[in-house]
Each structure stands twice: as C-alpha cells, then as structure tokens.
C-alpha cells in the first residue's frame, strides 16, 4: 500500500483566533502505480492534503503511511528527509520556484540536496530536461529568459530529477495554452506508464480526470466526500452537481441527451466513447 491516511485532521494555527480546520478526519488509500485525481472546490483542503504527502505538514491528529514510513503528529522533521526524496511535489505556478543562474543548475538543485555529486546531478538534470522536452541549447540559459510554459517544464524537470516514486501535481496546467496542456499531460501519462510512477494530480478539469485518472478523490470543506474509480465517480450527475463538481464535456452532452430520453450503457466519459456509443445507437 503506497499511501494511506488514517483519520487525518489538520488545523492551521491551532489555539489562536485565526484557527482554521483544513482537513477533517480523512481516511483514504492510494494504491501503488495508480493515477489519482484530487478534486474539490477552492478552499476544500486539496493543497493542505498534498502537503501532508511529503511531510511539509504533519497531521494534527491521525496518522499517515507512505511507502512504509509512518507520519504522526509527533514525527520529527529529521525523519522526513527520506520521504521528501520519494515524493516529488510540483506546486501551483511552479515556475515561481526557479532561482539558479542556469536552467541546468536549477534542475540539478534537488538531486544535489539529496546527496548526489555535482556530475551525477548534472547527468540527471540533462536526462530529465530531455524527458520533458527542453532543448539542450536552453540548458545554459537563465531560467528567467524562458517563456512561462518552458519555465513550468524546467520546474517539472527539477522535481523529476529527484527520481521520486510518487509524483504529486498541484494544478500543473494553470496558465498553459492548449498545446502546452496537452503536451504536459502527455508527459505525465508517459511517466505513469513507462516509469510506473504513482501520480496524484489536483485539477479542476473534469476532462483531464476522465482522460487520464483511474481513481478520484473528492474533498469538500476539509471532508472526504468520495474516493472511488472514475466510472463510479461520474455515474451520478445529480450528486456531482449538488457538490459543485462537474462532468467531463462528453458526459455533460450525454447527460443532456439522456434527459431527452437517450439510453446509455454507462455514461460515456470522453469523445471517443461518446461517438462509439452514438454510432451503435443510431444504427
């Protein structure tokens, strides 16, 4: 079992007038090698949730098991180094974390921190830069001369250079153009399929959930409201609307046709599936 949360709660600034409970009694499991989508409204606790995955935050109650490591409220920061190494988190607007003089140095920053030698780290950096599609000639440039999309890729390469087993992505597509979005998702899919990485992605885009994820975790006001396969998750449009979550566009269209009397063998979640079912129905 890769990741398991057992009755995890987290309260910001406990014991002050600014106290705020962000996570409330969350119990959930995420399997090794799965591609999980984390969805929920703004302020539902998604960002707090993912910061628990590598010990940036420790639960104020409950316990977390990640790859055999146990995190409780009493866990010391020193014990978390190893975990940080195994779990790579790409934060929102990750291009903001770049700081080195050259792209290569920035990508090599994390492996160097985790004890790789200078040359090992640079080799890793080159390999990961290639993986995310950064041209060799960009490696000696300053990261601040790149476009937003390129900077995002540099940041991603910087996380991948840690060679994590679990990759956590906090809304990695915000602000990218359609081509950039497709390209980035393709990279994640490759990492999942070729390198057998466990991937957890925070997103608001239900199309991406339908296209890439195999299970969905949904949060609402710090509480877990769903943890199931995407087919189950999208099976009840009514429930989704009630919780201010949406359907993928293809499913939305199918749901509207359903109201007009159309019958589906399970709501189609993407355009291909929609087209296939439509063709058979219309024959």
């Amino acid at each position: 079992m890769a990741i398991e949360f057992k009755h995890v709660s987290y309260t910001y600034q406990a014991g002050t007038p600014f106290e705020q409970q962000a996570l409330d009694d969350i119990s959930v499991k995420i399997k090794d090698g799965s591609f999980t989508a984390l969805v929920g409204h703004t302020g539902s606790g998604k960002s707090t949730f993912i910061q628990h995955l590598n010990g940036l935050l420790k639960p104020t109650a409950g316990e977390i098991h990640i790859n055999g490591q146990l995190i409780t409220p009493q866990t010391k920061n020193k014990e978390l180094d190893d975990l940080r190494h195994q779990v790579g988190i790409l934060f929102q607007f990750s291009e903001n974390q770049l700081f080195e003089e050259t792209v290569l140095k920035d990508i090599a920053f994390a492996p160097k921190n985790f004890g790789k030698s200078e040359s090992e780290a640079e080799d890793l950096a080159r390999a990961k830069a290639k993986l995310v599609g950064i041209d060799d000639q960009l490696l000696e440039r300053s990261p601040f001369e790149l476009s937003g999309g390129q900077m995002r890729r540099v940041a991603l390469a910087g996380i991948l250079a840690m060679e994590p087993q679990i990759l956590v992505l906090d809304e990695p597509l915000i602000g990218l153009d359609p081509v950039g979005k497709r390209e980035t998702m393709r990279i994640f899919k490759q990492l999942h399929e070729n390198e057998k990485m466990t991937i957890l992605i925070v997103t608001h885009n239900m199309d991406d959930v339908a296209d890439y994820a195999d299970q969905v975790i949904a949060l609402e006001r710090g509480k877990l409201i769903a943890a199931q396969s995407k087919q189950e998750f999208f099976s009840d449009p009514q429930w989704l609307y009630q919780h201010h979550l949406g359907l993928p566009r293809a499913a939305e269209f199918a749901a509207q046709l359903m109201q007009k009397g159309m019958q589906w063998d399970g709501l189609p979640l993407n355009v291909d599936e929609l087209a296939r079912q439509l063709v058979t129905k219309l024959k």
């Binding site: 600034q13 002050t16 940036l56 934060f91 974390q97 700081f99």
Partner: protein
Amino acid sequence: MSNIILGRYIDGGSIIHRMDSRAKLILSLYFIVIVFLCNNWQTYALLGIFTLACVLLSKIKMSFFIKGVRPLIGLILITVLLQLFFTSGGTVYWQWGPFKLTSFGIINSIYIFCRIVLIVLMSTLLTVTTTPLEIADGLESLMAPLRKIKVPVDEIALMISIALRFVPTLMDETQKIINAQRARGVNFGEGNLFKQAKMLIPILIPLFVNSIKRAEDLAVAMEARGYQGGPNRTKYRQQHWHLVDTVGIVVFLALTGGLMLLRG
C-alpha cells in the same frame, strides 16, 4: 511567521473598533508621550488601570495581548537587567565590579518594565482593532499639512496602502516558495550561520523576481485605469469623526491631568 501578531487585525464590533483611525493614531502616539510622565507607583497604577480598561473595551481576549508581548521578552529582559545592575543611588544591596544592585535600580527596572509593557499593549490594541487600510488612510489624513512643504503626501499614502495590501500576498507567496524548496530537499534552520544564510537564496531570488514582475503589472493596470498621480484624485473611503472620538480625546486629556496631579 504566524506567531507575529503585531499588525494583524481582529474583527470585532467594539467601541474601539468603531473609533476613527485618526483619533486612534493620535492617541496611541500621545500615549507614548504620557507614559513618560509617570514617575511613581500611583501614576503607573493609574495608567495600568486605564490600559486594562481599554483592552477590556476592545472585547478581545486578554491571552491574545499577552502573546503579543511574548516576542519582545528578550528586549524587555535586557533593558530591565541593564537598569537593574547599572543604576547607582539609594541603598546598595550588592556590588561586584561595575555591577551593583541598588534600591533605585530595582525601582527603576520595575518602572521600565511597566513602561514597555504598557506601550506594547497600547500599540497592539491599535493594530488589532484597526485594519491596515484604515491606518494608511489615517496617516494620509494626518500628513495632509505636510503638502505645504512639498511632501508628496498622496504618493506616500498610495505607497503605504499598496505595501499594506501586498503584505499578506507576499507572506503567502514566501510560504509557497519555502514549501517548494523544502520539497526539493532544502532543510531550513539547519547547519551553521553561513549555511543558513545561503539557504535564503532560493527564497529571496524568486521573491524579488515576482515582486518586480507584480509591480510592473500593477503599474500598467493602474495606468490603464487612468491613474496619473497627483492630488486631483478623489477619495472613495471617507473617514468620519464621531462623538466617540471626541470623548476619547477628552478622556486622554483628563488622564493627562490625573497623571500631572499624581506625579511626585
């Protein structure tokens, strides 16, 4: 970072919350002046009771104010100890080289302690009951006479309100950058001083870059909305002087009178 409470506003509907920020600013400054009028226990008792009454009036938990004093404890202790061991006069109880414990020293250090605590309490009261924007407005209005000597009051006021507006944004951003770099294996607060200073680079560079970018964007957005600077802009947030504010001033004047009477 979350332990710093100076400069944080706590919502509440108390009489002190509703006072005009100009009145509160003047009175907070004035309070620092009258603290120095105190020179015997009666005056300190009066001022202590008065401060306590103000704190109670604000309807904000006492524990919160105590937390506000806590970060300053080092400073208070040093000042008090210096007073305690380096004041001469009165009966000498103990002496060792330049250090001596005298009756004057003891009394003085108690007074200094009271003075600092009173001032910190009052300043905390100002910031927890007044939003930063109100403080900026109050400052602008109080600085208005300086226009006569060519001080760019409007620009300064705009700078202050923009600066205050971005304090929480920058704090958030700093926290995010810290998290991102921690996730890349930086262990803050470890190693020797030089090492720790070096760890600040991955935080400060992105923070500077983003701040400059943000400033450029903001400037363009302001110009696009017709901002040209200068005193010809109107004010949307109006300030109103109420009866409470006049009463506040009168109470402070009465307090000053009382202190003068009790002064030894």
